[in-house]
């Protein structure tokens, strides 16, 4: 009923103003999403008196962006279902490890990349299979996947007598040192993401399912299939991302990919995603969010914030963004 009064209020106001309100309401998400980026950017731009944009730093940022960006775009398809995934760190670790073995076995980069995608896709299909089959919350399934993948990697690391690393690192040059390739792949991924999410059946059905599975189903959406597809996409992207990840360090340890799952969630929120999925989810959340987070981490070191208060600053920025971007109007029940 609140809704009504709210609207009537709006209607009551002068046409121009209500038009404006309409407009802001309609585009709220869009420019507020950028506002978080703008906020962080300008803040550090000033604090670092411009160094943020130095050539060196720009390259740095792009390198760091690669993994998080690709992962977040990929997982956007999962999150827009209202599902949550916390297995990505483990999956990246496992994938990188197997890729390392493959490369050391003499396989070509191309083959290795395929293997990466296969492994990661495998993990994610298993995840959604468990969820669908046993009617589990996808997050619980991903919890199990996280435990298992992390466990396997740790076990291999702990039992192999020298560290697991790529012997011929020149093989990964494409992913490590070739900035043009990185940028191109990011652009391509972004485009693919945007197209799939906004201009294809997949994305549209995704959002519909996220909002109202029943209605989606009665409109001819195959709900299960749509979920599987979204996990498939996530799997592919994350497989690709793990190539970049591996190419950053050439080594795999029990800590590889640690904490990525959280980075993704934080990034999405910074990008203005409410994590509840549905038609409100925007692919730009993934793009803007991951950039914002990388900028944030980079900036905090650039300006040499005292280590004690780094996460304080982060937290406050995070809460500010949440407050201004995601704050919801009164509804009869508070969102879960």
């Amino acid at each position: 009923m609140k809704e009504v009064t709210h609207i009537n209020g709006a209607n009551a106001r002068s046409g121009g103003l209500s038009k404006f309100l309409q407009f802001t309401k309609a585009n709220k998400n869009i420019f507020i999403q950028y506002s978080s980026l703008i906020l962080v950017f300008s803040f550090f731009m000033i604090m670092s008196n411009g160094d943020l944009l130095s050539v060196v730093n720009l390259q740095t940022i792009i390198r760091q962006l690669a993994v998080l960006f690709i992962i977040t775009v990929g997982l956007m398809f999962v999150f827009s279902h209202g599902n949550m995934d916390i297995s990505v760190g483990g999956v990246i670790a496992l994938t990188s490890m197997i890729v390392t073995f493959t490369l050391n076995a003499g396989a070509s980069l191309f083959v290795a990349t395929l293997v990466a995608i296969v492994v990661s896709v495998g993990c994610y299909l298993l995840n959604i299979f468990i969820a669908n089959q046993f009617k589990l919350m996808a997050v619980i399934a991903s919890l199990a996947i996280m435990f298992s993948t992390r466990g396997v990697v740790t076990y291999m690391v702990s039992t192999s007598n020298e560290s697991i690393k790529v012997e011929d690192i020149s093989k990964l040059a494409l992913f490590s040192s070739n900035l043009t390739f990185t940028i191109t792949s990011l652009i391509v991924i972004a485009i693919v993401g945007i197209v799939l999410f906004n201009y294809s059946k997949i994305g549209k059905q995704n959002k519909a399912v996220g909002d109202n599975p029943l209605a989606a189903m009665q409109s001819g959406v195959d709900v299960k299939k749509s979920k599987v597809i979204s996990y498939l996409i996530a799997g592919i992207m994350i497989g690709f991302a793990s190539m970049f990840s591996l190419a950053r360090s050439y080594t795999v340890s029990e800590n590889s990919g640690m904490g990525l799952e959280m980075d993704v969630i934080v990034a999405l929120v910074l990008g203005g995603m409410a994590l509840s999925g549905g038609s409100k989810s925007k692919i730009s959340s993934a793009i803007v969010g991951s950039i914002t987070l990388v900028l944030l981490n980079n900036g905090l070191i650039m300006i040499g914030v005292r280590p004690e208060i780094v996460s304080l600053v982060k937290g406050i920025i995070f809460l500010i963004v949440v407050f201004f971007i995601l704050r919801r109007p009164r509804t009869e029940v508070i969102p879960r």
Binding site: E3, A26, K204, D211, A215, Q218, G220, D222
Partner: protein, 524 residues
């Protein structure tokens, strides 16, 4: 007129968003009498009782109890005033125990020094259930009860507070014969105890049997009071429906003939709640399906749409095999006419929603907001969702195509929205309804299964809807019109099938002679 008035409404009015649900209603409920409230769907019966019992806030006007002003904020206020109501929809919460449901929201009554005395609660719950002759373990979860038993629990909840005003909203349709007899007995008992009862039902004969007086509503307006001695079925109906069937409301012609060509068919279909159904829908025909809720007509709609698995028989749609992906690629251009049922169309077994949609069968659910629309999504997204395949060209769905598609529907159906990006939740009932039509019409679904299409829309839109249905018929659409509103069926259908207990009991062809009275006999 010696009985004293317990409750009186003065210009009672309720608006939902912009929909005027109840409009300046003045009525009285007296002690020691059973007052019947009757009117078509959407005439405002539930809304009135909801306001009296504090479920909805009053928009304007007043309610007086014993001449004192009364403005309830929540059901507890009503309870204090000894008003209990049994709502039309389910009013119990799953996973809670039966006892907890009986005292939902009022557990404090058993509170003594901060702790709620559960034992007492159980005992009391048991007592409460005795009133409805329901003998179950009150500590068990409510889930263990069937629909009727849950209704009885609600009744028990209402009676527990030995109400002075007892409101029953269309509960009897949900009850078996025994259940009905029971609740009738309860109402009579209350009457004899000089309590007041407000009884809402679509079943006129039931009302006439039980009630001492009747109030007729139409489109949210108070129409007229009948005292027992004045009861006259036809007169009452006359008042309910109001106007003679004017041309601009329902269709005016009585030409029930349609092309012989069968486009949609159920053969010996049995499924949950359905027994051996046979029906044929012809091209350009409006086939009405009537019955009481619980007669299985809603299930029939889902069955025909491939949404409920059959236990026997088959549903056939006469169309073309779903084109393969490659065929689609070739067919990109001439998509528009693939929908038409060309003479050599062959029967296709309709087993799931996909084949239904592929063969241009569309379905609008009775529970529009839950099952057909995505309220959070925009008008555009809602309109396009079921037409994605059509819009999809080489794997891409361009904004342009979407916009064009959506705009077409908005224009042709005169959907009133600030923009095609407005979220559907904000639309008025009628506009929502138009959108759920538009989804399918836009997708050239030539066969439409419409379950209670005018449910919850105001009379203005109803007219538009009926006009629309008629136009669609003229354009060769075939429509399966499922409705609880007999007037609507009589007014719109070429043929009417009446259902009872999951079976088709009678078929009528369009003619002036068909009227509610004759129909009802085959439903009860």
């Amino acid at each position: 007129m010696d009985k004293e008035v317990f409750l009186e409404t003065v210009n009672l009015t309720k608006k939902f968003d912009e929909v005027l649900a109840v409009d300046k209603v003045n009525m009285q409920v007296k002690l020691g009498e059973i007052k019947g409230l009757i009117g078509e769907n959407g005439s405002g019966k539930s809304t009135i009782s909801a306001m009296i019992s504090g479920l909805h806030r009053i928009t304007s006007g007043d309610i007086y109890i014993n001449k004192k002003k009364y403005t309830p904020k929540n059901p507890l206020d009503a309870r204090e005033k000894k008003i209990s109501m049994i709502v039309q929809e389910t009013g119990t919460i799953n996973n809670l125990s039966i006892a907890e449901n009986v005292f939902l929201g009022d557990e404090v009554r058993f509170k003594k020094n901060t702790f709620v005395n559960r034992k007492k609660m159980m005992v009391e719950a048991k007592k409460a259930l005795e009133a409805v002759e329901l003998d179950v373990d009150v500590t068990k979860s409510i889930n263990t009860l069937n629909f009727e038993q849950r209704k009885l629990v609600e009744i028990a909840r209402a009676l527990y507070y030995n109400p002075t005003l007892f409101i029953v909203d269309e509960t009897t349709t949900a009850l078996s014969h025994e259940g009905r007899v029971l609740i009738h007995r309860i109402m009579r008992r209350l009457k004899s105890e000089n309590k007041a009862v407000l009884f809402i039902s679509h079943d006129l004969s039931e009302l006439m049997e039980i009630c001492d007086s009747l109030t007729v509503l139409r489109d949210g307006n108070f129409i007229r009071d009948f005292e027992k001695e004045q009861f006259d079925e036809n007169e009452i109906k006359q008042e309910m429906v109001g106007r003679e069937l004017e041309g601009d409301f329902y269709r005016s012609d009585y030409d029930g003939t349609s092309t012989g060509q069968v486009v949609f068919q159920a053969k010996n279909v049995s499924a949950q709640g359905l027994k051996n159904i046979n029906l044929e829908l012809h091209k350009g025909e409006i086939l009405g399906i009537g019955g009481l809720s619980g007669s299985g007509m809603h299930e029939l709609g889902k069955v025909m749409y491939g949404n409920i698995r059959l236990s026997a028989g088959e549903v056939l749609v006469y169309g073309h095999e779903t084109p393969s992906f490659f065929q689609k690629l070739w067919k990109q251009k001439d998509k528009q006419n693939t929908g038409n049922m060309s003479p050599e169309a062959k029967p296709i077994r309709l087993t799931n929603i996909k084949t239904a949609i592929a063969n241009k069968v569309g379905y609008v659910s009775k529970d529009r907001d839950q099952e057909t629309l995505i309220l959070e999504a925009s008008v555009k997204d809602n309109l396009t969702l079921s037409a994605l395949d059509k819009l999809d060209s080489y794997g891409l769905i361009t904004q342009k195509a979407e916009k064009r598609f959506a705009q077409e529907q908005i224009d042709s159906l005169l959907i009133k929205c600030s923009s095609m990006n407005q979220t559907v939740r904000e639309l008025s009932g009628g506009n929502k309804q138009k959108i759920s039509f538009g989804k399918w019409i836009g997708n050239d679904s030539k066969i439409l299964i419409l379950d209670s299409p005018t449910r919850g829309v105001d009379v203005g839109v109803k007219t538009k809807m009926y006009q629309l249905l008629y136009d669609l018929k003229q354009q060769g659409y075939s429509i399966l019109l499922i409705s609880e509103e007999l007037q609507e069926l009589i007014g719109m259908s070429d043929r009417i099938l009446l259902m009872k207990d999951g079976a088709i009991t009678k078929e009528f062809h369009r003619s002036e002679k068909v009227d509610e009275k004759t129909l009802i006999q085959y439903m009860i």
